[in-house]
Symmetry: C2
Subunit: 247 residues, 2 copies
Amino acid sequence: MFRIPETHPRYKSLLKREKIVAGIEAGITSRQGLIAHGRGEAFDYLIGERTLPAALRATEAAAALLLTAQKPVISVNGNVAALVTERVIELSELIGAPLEVNIFYWTEARVMKIKEHLEQHGATNVLGDKADARIPGIEHARARVDKDGIYTADVVLAPLEDGDRCEALIAMGKKVVTIDLNPVSRTSKYATVSIVDDIERALENLILMIKEKKKGEVKLLEDYDNKENLQAVINEIMERLKNEALR
Amino acid sequence: MFRIPETHPRYKSLLKREKIVAGIEAGITSRQGLIAHGRGEAFDYLIGERTLPAALRATEAAAALLLTAQKPVISVNGNVAALVTERVIELSELIGAPLEVNIFYWTEARVMKIKEHLEQHGATNVLGDKADARIPGIEHARARVDKDGIYTADVVLAPLEDGDRCEALIAMGKKVVTIDLNPVSRTSKYATVSIVDDIERALENLILMIKEKKKGEVKLLEDYDNKENLQAVINEIMERLKNEALR
């Protein structure tokens, strides 16, 4: 790793980059995943690198949806595995949902690397290496899933997901929870519940809320409106841009 | 390279990613450079992946500034070398300015790789391997420049530059032209002329404008206001977000 000077004004953001770059060394993160991370960084900058009230609301809706699911599955790609290893494993145990390795730039070697990485950190239920089913309506190489996992899940938590696949999962009748910093991405638009937040912050909040909800009776948030919630994020970005000091 | 399915809605953007990923294979682009590219992608998406009128105006101001400079220098980092090799070389010849390899994550090996890459593509005046001077006011490792290059230049074209270094060059009394897709970045705010555009589109326009201006007498754009120009870009982004259809 490079030593980032602590005097650099974007020190924290640069340190976070190092974490995902390390994912490359481990054979977990794809190079295209680094670019995708950069896209996220830009949107995080626009929302002020903090959890917006709208994101908290979406996280609460997601917690209820995951807890009332018959068969929830957590989709894990290279960036998720590199950035939030411990947190996805904790979440998996907490809601009794398997982790399914599901990557956009698919190679068997990388799937196995990610599976091993998760297991080395304590995960006990990792799918994705069978790839014995296909999501209908999307191009072959991107469609691979496990029959016992995402293919038959009713609720899928798919952080940092591709828009095409999100749309196809919805078309299969599934409910999809995404975590994506871009409020106008196709993923955010298609998902049932779109958490527009940094993945570390979002999973931390999600875990806290699930722990809290498990103490009582869990009910879906009937009045939650995902479009309205995304609009609130967009409004916040516009407000921040309006106040941007250019002198 | 991975084969991107042509049916993917973001086909063009994904292809562009492949180009910069290839820069890694060649030892030219840094991994952190990939993340920076992703940040740019996000802002390009927000401005509609096209050259805004404000960007054209900044490009014209930049053309005049570079043509009237006593000693212009073009700063080249890993992403610039990977994305627009031929164009920076053409620009260098056109205005008689050296290219100076100037990278954020500095290693001598990568400086030499980039220099060789540029020379293999026909560049005849490439600096940056001496690194015998320092930009005052910034941390040692980031401060390296050539005494005969950026250190004594009056106008520096520094595309995709770090905010800290842009500020330090301005503090040295230089005029700095940047190409940066983020209109609210520190780089865009500090620069003398900030071209908020994709680097390929911006250099293409800059070369055309310089060729045109060279036919007559070159005058600086006296009424060009960089802050006002950046504000126009921000307004355009807000307008686009306002019209974003969320259904």
